[in-house]
């Protein structure tokens, strides 16, 4: 295989009866410094699904995403992505786009939007090689997809918060992306920018048939967009449709507070204390 070409892995090119299971977790436990941060996490994500992962601060949501990405190894249980352990993923990584919670970059770092999105293709280009015309076209296509055309040459630090999020989404999309792992992508955005980002995400998901795993502590936002929701707080509390999860008493136990979704503000009122 030429390292310049991001090819579709056998997982997607092979025949399949029914939707493929792109992510599977079985009884996953993660420990850090001898402390259990996740335990008994079991769920599967099918191709084309939009899974929301919710939980209060410190629930282990980011850790869970990192375990899926293979950045953290579980001490027990099994994680499988595209049918294999995350550490074994090689060219399959071309199908996975990741957007971390916060990219702590220096605002004067001398790179343009184009340069940042091109970073997303680094693993596809291959070591000791430089971007080809095909890589540049893929980057421009990705920038257009997130609505940042005309800003390709703008330094990343000069963009607004919402535009920067779009640039990082473009970076996550500029390979043969089939799975998007998003960690609190709307954090720090105002309501208008959040809605614009989510509308863009929904459109991209439909158009490209993406599987989306979206981590957030904002239950109401996810309830409007996700097909199913997993609620964790170190252990797994719930997994079901947004209606099932929001209607369950166990959601309140996970967050240790009461929710008031009918008020439409998506907020929560602390009654039990955190």
């Amino acid at each position: 295989m030429s390292p310049r070409t991001c090819r579709v892995s056998e997982f997607f090119s092979g025949e399949s009866e029914g939707p493929r299971r792109v992510i599977e977790l079985r009884d996953v436990r993660v420990e850090r410094d001898g402390r259990v941060v996740l335990d008994g996490i079991t769920f599967t994500v099918e191709e084309g699904a939009f899974l929301g992962i919710i939980g209060p601060n410190g629930a282990g949501k980011t850790t869970l995403l990192k375990a899926i990405l293979g950045l953290i190894r579980p001490s027990r249980g099994e994680v499988r992505v595209l049918g294999m352990a995350p550490q074994q993923l090689r060219r399959e990584l071309h199908h996975i786009g990741y957007m971390p919670q916060q990219v702590l970059f220096d605002p004067v770092f001398p790179v343009s939007v184009f340069d940042v999105v091109m970073m997303g293709r680094a693993c596809c280009i291959g070591t000791l090689r430089h971007p080809s015309r095909k890589d540049r076209e893929a980057v421009l296509e990705s920038i257009r997809a997130v609505g940042l055309e005309g800003l390709e040459r703008r330094p990343i630090g000069e963009l607004s918060g919402g535009q920067q999020k779009r640039a990082f989404l473009a970076r996550a999309l500029c390979l043969e992306t089939r799975i998007l792992l998003l960690d609190e992508p709307c954090a720090g955005l105002d309501v208008e920018a959040q809605e614009a980002f989510l509308a863009l995400l929904a459109e991209l998901k439909e158009r490209r048939g993406l599987t989306v795993v979206f981590v957030s502590h904002d239950v109401a936002t996810l309830a409007r967009h996700a097909d199913s929701i997993v609620c964790i707080n170190r252990t797994m509390h719930l997994h079901g449709s947004p209606q099932e999860v929001l209607g369950s008493r166990r959601l309140h136990e996970a967050y240790r507070c009461e929710f008031d979704f009918l008020a439409g503000d998506g907020g929560r009122s602390d009654k039990g204390g955190a």
Binding site: Y98, F109, P110, M119, C123, T127, P131
Partner: protein
């Protein structure tokens, strides 16, 4: 001045290290490794002291020492047990103390040591010039070969790791490259001032552009011009080359600040 062989050697060696240092300085500044550069260069004193006391080639012992300290700091920092600056603070002072102790015990506090501390145009042999050229070439090749990986890691290490790039190897490669350019630069510039070569060129370039290609071009230009002008001034005024080169670099930095488009845009 080029009639003199010692100046030919100083200029050839100086331009080689200026090129490599300027290139590396882009990543030192953008990854905020300036203190690491200072730590590694000062740690060279331990290696120089051991070399002088044992009668070995001090550049070789300093080379081993610097690479070991750079990789040690990197390893400790990545394990996350201690902050990088704390580790550097401990290892570089301990290395300097070791150097001072060994030299003191060996009663060989001599001119050699002073030239290592402050640099000397007379200190470079043809062997040093060849070593500087070869190591600088290696560092330039490493930077060119892994440029996109180095850039991604400097900008956003977490996503670079998640995308499957060899982040750890790139990080240790970068530290080794820093240690090597420091070692080949200390004879000319001196232990105390060599870290300026790893910071000022890119800092100057960043004043003038927000496109990394231009920042690197300005950095290299700054490094080469400062080296040539500094060596000439040091010859004319008969002053230590390291201090002259660094003062010229500082002058260019101030000029770049004054001419910075960002600064001019902010002005009413």
């Amino acid at each position: 001045m080029l009639r003199y062989v010692f100046m030919q050697k100083a200029l050839l060696g100086g331009m080689s290290v200026a090129l490599a240092c300027s290139l590396i300085s882009f990543f030192v500044v953008t990854r905020r490794l300036a203190f690491m550069g200072m730590g590694i260069s000062h740690a060279a004193f331990g290696g120089v002291g051991l070399g002088l006391a044992a009668g070995l080639d001090a550049t070789v012992t300093a080379g081993f020492f610097c690479v070991a300290v750079a990789l040690g700091v990197g390893w400790l920092a990545r394990r996350g047990r201690m902050h990088e600056d704390t580790t550097i603070g401990i290892l570089f002072t301990a290395s300097m103390a070791l150097g001072a102790l060994v030299v003191g015990l060996a009663r060989r506090y001599n001119l050699d040591l002073m030239s290592y501390l402050f640099g000397s145009v007379l200190a470079m042999s043809w062997g040093d010039v060849i070593a500087a050229a070869v190591l600088s070439l290696l560092v330039c090749l490493f930077t060119a070969a892994f440029f996109k990986e180095l850039l991604f890691v400097a900008f956003d290490e977490e996503t670079a790791t998640a995308s499957g790039l060899p982040v750890r190897s790139v990080y240790y490669g970068m530290l080794t490259a820093m240690a090597l350019v420091i070692v080949v630069s200390i004879k000319l510039v001196g232990i105390i001032l060599v870290s300026a070569l790893l910071v000022m060129p890119a800092a100057t370039g960043l004043q003038l552009s927000r496109d990394y290609r231009k920042v690197i071009a300005f950095a290299v230009l700054d490094g080469l011009a400062s080296m040539a002008l500094g060596l000439w001034l040091s010859y004319v005024a008969d002053v230590p080359p390291g201090a002259t080169i660094v003062m010229v670099m500082f002058g260019f930095f101030l000029l770049a600040m004054a001419l910075s488009p960002r600064r001019l845009l902010r002005s009413p």
